[in-house]
């Protein structure tokens, strides 16, 4: 060992000392395995704290299902009522048009009869 190499050798020794193989303490492996098994078997705590947690209660679950079903029935009913109303309004329009046409043709007949009467009375007056 030369005096120039002395600091390097000391550093080398220090590193070897720090990185030397050490035996694990007793029970370390068992403890590690037990913790790993525990982590895999338990559910994630984030799910437990979810806002959907209340659905796990049977009463709430049934109430939610009933509400969904009721809103679906209501939706179908509203749709049917609206459809019936639209059909009824269309039928009313047709009815009114039919009556308008009938009324217009009655008035046409009336005006023709009046025309003929006027013509006849004019002719009668001319003859006299």
């Amino acid at each position: 060992m030369t005096p120039m190499n002395e600091p390097n050798d000391r550093l080398d020794d220090a590193l070897k000392n720090a990185l030397r193989r050490q035996e694990a303490p007793d029970g370390f492996a068992d403890g590690l395995m037990a913790r790993a098994a525990q982590q895999h078997s338990t559910p994630e705590p984030i799910h437990r704290d979810s806002w959907l947690r209340f659905l796990t209660r049977p009463l709430v679950r049934w109430a939610t299902l009933a509400a969904v079903a009721a809103s679906m029935v209501l939706g179908v009913h509203v749709y049917q009522v609206r459809r019936e109303r639209a059909e009824g309004e269309a039928a009313k329009e047709r009815l009114m048009i039919a009556l308008h046409i009938a009324g217009a043709k009655l008035q046409l007949a009336r005006s023709k009869v009046n025309e003929i009467r006027t013509d006849q009375s004019t002719n009668h007056q001319v003859k006299e």
Binding site: A86, A90, R94, I97, H100, I101, A102, G103, A104
Partner: protein, 196 residues
């Protein structure tokens, strides 16, 4: 055994005949007042505009439920249709004169030459060619229906209203002479609404 089968078969035929008779008579009763000759129905193919309204009793009463009492015109209509059994209208508007024949009109008129019908108006106009016929149906001396056949140069209209009605009230609904153009447009809207 064979005898039983024969009896069963004859019974079935008997009931079948009765059923057929009932169906036929009900169809005949329904269409009795609403016969439109096929040739006249075909005119819609030639027509520029066609108005077809067929409303039987239940349909008529259902439609009248949507008439508003607040609207004076709709209130008049509601009063008019309250006791009606059916309304049938065919109105064809053509592009040119002579699109339909006198035979077509005669086919319509001939149906109402029967003791139950009386022709109360028959107008034949030489100068503009407009012909209008009005037939009344009387039952127990009461008005039970009206048929109007108006044959104009470019328009043929057939109206059949079944049931008692006030003719003056109906004429009031006519508005100005002729069919308002707006009505035809709103009918096409109404028909579109039906298909929705």
């Amino acid at each position: 055994m064979k005898k039983t089968k024969a009896i069963r078969s004859s019974k079935l035929k008997y009931y079948g005949a009765i059923l057929a008779l009932l169906v036929a008579s009900s169809i005949a009763a329904r269409t009795q007042d609403a016969k439109i000759p096929p040739d006249v129905e075909k005119l819609s193919a030639k027509a520029k505009e066609t108005v077809e309204v067929t409303m039987d009793g239940p349909m008529l009463h259902w439609a009248s439920k949507f008439l508003s009492a607040d609207d004076p015109e709709e209130a008049k209509c509601a009063k008019l249709v309250a006791n009606l059994k059916g309304i049938y209208v065919r109105s064809f508007e053509f592009d040119k004169d002579g699109a339909y024949s006198t035979a077509d009109v005669e086919a319509l008129r001939s149906q109402f030459r029967s003791p139950t019908w009386s022709r109360v108006v028959g107008v034949r106009s030489d100068h503009d060619g407009d012909n209008v016929d009005i037939f009344f149906k009387l039952e127990n001396e009461k008005m039970a229906g009206i048929v109007i056949i108006a044959a104009e140069a470019r328009e043929l209209t057939y109206v059949n209203i079944v049931g008692p009605l006030e003719v003056d009230q109906l004429a009031d609904l006519g508005g100005e002479f002729g069919i308002p153009k707006l009505s035809r447009r709103s009918l096409s809207k109404a028909e579109k609404g039906d298909h929705k």
